[in-house]
Amino acid sequence: MPKVLVTQPSVTGVDDPRLEALRAAGWEIRHEPAGARMNPEELLELVQGHAAVIASSEPYTRAVLEGADTLKHVARWGVGFDQVDVPAATELGILVTTTVGANDWGVADHAFALIFSLARRTVENDKLIRSGGWSRPPGRDVWRKTLGIVGLGRIGRGVAQRASGFEMKVLAYEPYPDTAFCEKWGVELVSLEDLLQRSDYVTLHAPGGGENHHLMNADRLALMKSTAFLVNTARGSLIDEAALEAALVGGRLAGAGLDVREQEPPKDTRFVDLPNVVLTAHMAGVTVETSAAMTAMAAESIVEGSRGEKPGGLLNPEAWDHRRAY
């Protein structure tokens, strides 16, 4: 009977209903919540003897992967995989999957939650009332305003679609657009510069790293309207935070909603005292519903891999032909 280790804390236990695929296939499940604080030595000890793991953010270094010679599949619960040495896993024939696609809708919802909280100054208003105040600062419309979406991947498309009932003008910057989608939902494809100049709300849905590092630098921020708002639920590295802070303090930008930061959690106090900023702690993709979906997808991917079917969310298909055998 193959054994799977579950380190993801939000899985409720070995009897979590979303692990049904594993139970039905006869897997023995062990639940030991872990995370980023665990060191590689501890992790190796924990993971040894298991064929697969539904992994949280603990470090799957080369040493761990080499040492854990029973391990055939690391199924990351979530979409990030910074903590997994994927090239090492590929070399060793260990499959690495993520639950990509199982939380898109949560991120798209959250982008809108941030847009509205900025437009209507919700955090500020709520704080005011709770301290006995009743001054009534006016907000801004969202209805029929212009929404600029940087990146029309699955999440960006979800955001675009949500704008339809609000009768918004939707602009998007995307190098490889799905033109049928754009036509269906009335999305106008434009250059990044054009998008920044015309939008009332700009939301980022581009990948981080590489040439997108500091995509929103001082020059690009300066293109935005002074009444516009910037939302980031994608990656913290997309924004030059020092430049953003300067624009917000200088009144060159109306506000910002940030779910992701250059450093997480942040060690400095940047943005903390600004009333026109809404900060959430990299939560966009995590809801009750997406959590359940991610657990189910991770469980299913392990069962698929063990049956010799290429699993969903596979990051290293090049490992497939020399994968460790069950």
């Binding site: 809108f112 006016p138 900060l279």
Partner: protein, 329 residues
């Protein structure tokens, strides 16, 4: 020279450029700001007597005695859509025209219902507090995507709220005695037979009924809601039995609430303040209709109304057209 006083809180002083058309037409425009709290009758009469018209806030009450004593007033123009503070029958008896800027902010109210829905489901107030700290815990939120939206009342605002659900792929159920069937068909809104059914089915229940539906959200109806459901009120404070809501929120019978309107505005006593201690509510100070864009529209509207009635044209947004022929001149 006719004189108009502006007490509405949206003004920017005597030189407010939005009142230029009035000044150009020969009106003397004065503005006033109340220091806070509700002025008494005496103060109101003293302030407005001698003016021909008032562009009125919701702070001061226009009672029968005010209309009788301030006998120079010909037109009370509320800069806003509510007129709970105006005794309209008394105004009519005294020949005073009453208008509101109805239709000037329905889209903003519909937006705000969504602000509260998304804010409560994504626990934004709690999350922002955590986000401003250096210890990131992650309280878990709930989806809006593909959930069920329950709408009580499909007037202009309720229709707008329902239509906004389209891109979120929500199921929309609504109760409305006089529905616009074309709109329902276009936006895939399912009409149900009773208000109870809206409370039963909705993951979000949002109220868009007139304020005389006192306690439409009472203990019995709230008890029908799912434990994961959220109640939103951007309409009138009278619609919600706050005792019943407070009980449901603190005992976990429902998941949360977003309240822009209250039984007492601003809150007056400890009973009103109870909600401020709850983490599963978002409270905003009756600002659902108040955006810069809506204020710009209503400023134009209120100025047009004053000028129209002074020049003998019945203004849009009049609440007592039956007195037009016997209005004060």
């Amino acid at each position: 020279m006719p004189k108009v006083l502006v007490t509405a809180t949206g003004h920017r002083g005597d030189d407010d450029p939005r009142f230029k058309p009035l000044r150009d037409a020969g009106w003397d425009v004065k503005t006033h700001r109340w220091p806070g709290g509700r002025p008494d009758e005496e103060e109101v009469v003293e302030l407005i007597h001698g003016y021909d018209a008032v562009i009125a806030s919701s702070n001061e009450r226009y009672t029968r005695s005010v209309f009788e004593r301030a006998d120079t007033i010909k037109h009370v123009a509320r800069w806003g859509v509510g007129y709970e503070t105006v005794d309209v029958p008394a105004a009519s008896d005294n020949g005073v025209v009453v208008t509101t800027t109805q239709g000037s902010n329905h889209w903003a109210v519909a937006d705000h219902a969504w602000t509260l829905m998304l804010g409560v489901s994504r626990r934004l107030i709690e999350l922002d507090k955590i986000g401003r700290s250096r210890t990131w815990t992650r309280p878990i939120a709930r989806d809006v995507w593909q959930k069920t939206l329950g709408v009580v009342g499909l007037g202009r605002i309720g229709k707008g709220v329902a239509q906004r659900a389209f891109g979120f792929e929500m199921k929309v159920v609504a109760y409305e005695p006089y529905p616009d069937l074309e709109h329902c068909k276009k936006w895939n809104i399912e009409l149900v037979d009773s208000i109870d059914e809206v409370f039963r089915q909705g993951d979000f229940v949002t109220l868009h009924a007139p304020g005389d539906n006192v306690h439409v959200a009472n203990a019995e109806r709230i008890a029908l809601m799912k434990p994961t459901a959220v109640l939103i009120n951007t309409a009138r404070g009278t619609l919600v039995d706050e005792d019943a809501l407070y009980e449901a929120l603190t005992s976990g019978k429902i998941a949360g609430a977003g309240l822009d309107v209250r039984e007492h505005e601003p809150p007056e006593d400890e009973r009103d303040d109870r909600f401020a201690a709850l983490t599963n509510v978002i409270l905003t100070p009756h600002i659902s209709g108040s955006t810069a864009e809506a204020q710009a529209v209503s400023a134009v509207m209120v100025v047009e109304q004053i000028m129209a009635s002074a020049s003998g044209t019945m203004p849009h947004g009049i609440h007592n057209p039956e007195i037009w022929d016997r209005r004060r001149r």
